[in-house]
């Protein structure tokens, strides 16, 4: 059995002065994925932000390849891709420009027009490359945000309700993309209320770790 790449031990998070959950521990090896579930307001988003480094956990130990992520700093950021509730797009930029700037600022220096187009095609936005994001529907924006994940090659994917606003076909596309990512040795943490069909994914119910529920 290989070493776990991503290990979380005894994690607890708070919002304001209220502790949300505690004692969360899990390990992920290459090619593994976790489906994080739990009722509204139990702290799934808070947890994912803490794991990404955007938030700050109350307590706990988060390790990547055996080292603490706080110590790794920017090096850890070079290994992860995060998709939040918000899409992180700029409405005035076209689809292609959004993807290109994301790639460049995240270390995809060899990213050229061809790669951008390929990523857009993967999410079904090939025809919309030159359209500004503000002229897109909710689902199209979500897909554009997904295209950004494809141009930087990151082993760890953190996805917060990635299926929001996606139509039936796109949900399938995304599941396929995740499957491929895992086959290539990637890891994924996925928050979703919607069930989806990904062979071998483990479920993680945050409910069991809740400290205060309101």
């Amino acid at each position: 059995m290989t070493e776990p790449l991503f290990a979380v031990r005894a994690l607890s998070c708070a919002r304001g002065d209220r502790v949300l959950f505690g004692g969360v521990s899990f390990e992920l090896r290459a090619g593994e994925a976790l489906h994080i579930r739990g009722p509204n307001g139990y702290g799934k988003t808070t947890m994912l932000r803490a794991l990404s480094g955007l938030g700050r956990p109350l307590r706990g130990d988060i390790r990547w390849r055996g080292e603490r992520v706080r110590d790794l700093g920017d090096e850890f950021y070079a290994e992860l891709a995060y998709l939040g509730h918000l899409n992180g797009l700029r409405e005035e930029l076209t689809a292609a420009e959004n993807v290109w700037t994301y790639a460049r600022t995240h270390g995809g220096a060899d990213c050229d027009g061809k790669q951008v187009d390929a990523a857009l095609a993967r999410v079904g936005l090939a025809a919309a490359a030159e359209r500004p994001a503000r002229h897109m529907s909710q689902g199209q924006k979500r897909r554009l945000a997904l295209a950004c994940l494809l141009v930087v090659n990151r082993p760890l994917w953190l996805l917060d309700e990635p299926f929001t606003a996606l139509d039936v076909g796109s949900v399938e596309t995304l599941v396929n993309l995740i499957e491929e990512h895992l086959r290539e040795g990637g890891l994924a943490l996925i928050i979703s209320h919607q069930a989806f069909d990904l062979p071998g994914i483990r479920n993680f119910d945050l409910e069991h770790f809740v400290r205060s529920r309101r």
């Binding site: 990404s52 938030g55 899409n87 700029r90 930029l93 995240h106 220096a109 060899d110 950004c148």
Partner: protein, 227 residues
């Protein structure tokens, strides 16, 4: 990671230029705001030329300062509400460098045109011709300081409702020295009581200081705001 830091900074810079180009009316707006504020003064104070010339350096500098402050409100807020700032924080490059690139673009698109436009307004305000050079130079040195310092409160007040006014509140006391030396330099050049060089070199010293520390403080402020 195969990219380069400079490449990332260039990308941020280009991104900002693109955004500004798409919203080019806004860039124009900042200039027009500058023009209108300086125009309001003669209206409010009365049209005597001698008096106008006397208050001209002060009014021009206050107008430049207010225009910059106004444009600062918009600096991070859209990136914040749409989640791009989250992504910028998760970049593998030092946040300080990316912030610096962003501020540089901001200055090129606000402070620089403002400085270049100022002589036109100065004529309106009856500022003596001999002070024009100093006016432009003082604004070229001063406006980047305003941008650099002002970015810190802009970053700090991100999560905060009504942040816009709070930014002004935090920023304006910090601007005092810049305003004093900027306006004094122009007044000195206009009156030739003292040479303007002393004031200008002080402004330059401030600029160096701000370049060294402000991007760092701004990056820390962003991390705090998104926590």
């Amino acid at each position: 990671m195969r990219g380069s830091l400079l490449g990332a900074m260039r990308a941020v810079f280009i991104r900002e230029l693109l955004l500004f180009w798409r919203r080019r009316t806004e860039v124009a707006n900042i200039l027009v705001f500058f023009v209108i504020v300086t125009t309001l003064f003669p209206l409010a104070v009365g049209p005597e030329r001698r008096e106008l010339a006397h208050i001209a350096p002060g009014v021009l500098w206050v107008a430049a300062l207010l225009a910059t402050t106004l444009s600062l409100n918009q600096l991070f807020i859209i990136d914040y509400t749409e989640g791009s700032l989250d992504q910028m924080l998760l970049s593998p490059y030092p946040l300080t460098a990316l912030v610096f690139a962003k501020l540089a673009a901001h200055w090129v698109l606000t402070g620089l045109p403002l400085a270049l436009l100022s002589p036109l307004l100065a004529i309106q305000m009856a500022l003596p011709d001999k002070a024009m050079g100093t006016l432009v130079l003082s604004l070229l040195l001063g406006t980047p300081i305003l941008t650099l310092i002002g970015a810190i409160p802009a970053a700090l007040t991100l999560g905060v409702r009504g942040g816009g006014v709070l930014v002004s509140l935090l920023v304006l006391p910090l601007y005092t020295p810049v305003l004093i030396f900027g306006a004094e330099a122009v007044a000195a050049a206009a009156g030739q009581e003292f040479a303007a060089t002393a004031h200008l070199s002080l402004l330059a010293a401030f600029l160096v200081l701000a370049l060294a520390f402000a991007p760092l403080a701004c990056a820390s402020a962003l991390r705090v705001s998104l926590d």
